[in-house]
Symmetry: C2
Subunit: 139 residues, 2 copies
């Protein structure tokens, strides 16, 4: 992901946008960021970028299909860099852990259901909530 991806999306290549992209890419462990998460990491990195800009940029990235916005049950948006194939999420309601999965059976059924209901499907979201292995063993 680099400056040409921004250009392609019709976005000027600015320092805030590059820095935010970097953070989303760094993601050793974390791949799902709230706006606040990104903002905090920018502060830690010594970047003087406002929270309003973070929101603006993330929204533009979403429009440009560079990131995907999720609506988990947490009450705020969570952003994820758009790379690799489509996948859905399974979340731990105790610790907040997020795992990903792909299931072609479910994907196919969804398309069939949309078709049978007369809808032209544009998108879908599937979240499975549960208690992860680690949290179960703590009980």
């Amino acid at each position: 992901m680099e400056s040409k991806d921004l250009r392609k999306a019709g976005l000027k290549v600015t320092l805030p946008r590059m820095k935010i992209l970097e953070i989303l890419e760094a993601a050793d462990d974390q791949r799902h960021f709230s706006a606040e998460d990104v903002y905090k990491q920018l502060l830690e990195a010594g970047e003087d970028i406002g929270l309003a800009t973070v929101y603006r940029v993330l929204t533009q990235f979403e429009t440009a299909d560079l990131v995907m916005r999720h609506h988990f049950e947490s009450g705020h948006s969570v952003f994820e860099l758009n790379r690799g194939p489509h996948h859905d999420h399974i979340l731990c309601v105790r610790c907040g852990k997020v795992d990903e999965f792909v299931d072609e059976t479910i994907e196919r059924r969804q398309r069939e259901i949309a078709e049978n209901s007369g809808y032209r499907m544009t998108d879908h979201s599937l979240y499975i909530y549960g208690i992860c292995e680690a949290c179960q063993s703590k009980e």
Copy 2:
């Protein structure tokens, strides 16, 4: 749905709670309400019930499993009376229409995925977004 359902849930049978239940049940066409929706209907019905109470009561109903809270992409919670079998939702992104469906294949796969990922599944949410038949024909 009546007072004994409230008692069973450990909730006192109060006027606000009964009125809110009535509104959720009335639902000739609508079955999905935001807190604001419920509040407006209470006002129209001449009931002097505060918005804070609506939120409180809906949250209690959710805890008591009387209603289900949905997180559509609209940015606010939507509540639905818990009756009939479990179902998922397909929504029109143009007009906001909400349809329901049940698909045992998807249900089963979800349980399998949770199990394979080491999760004890507590819940799941599946929303299909698309453009409904009526909106397609307007294009």
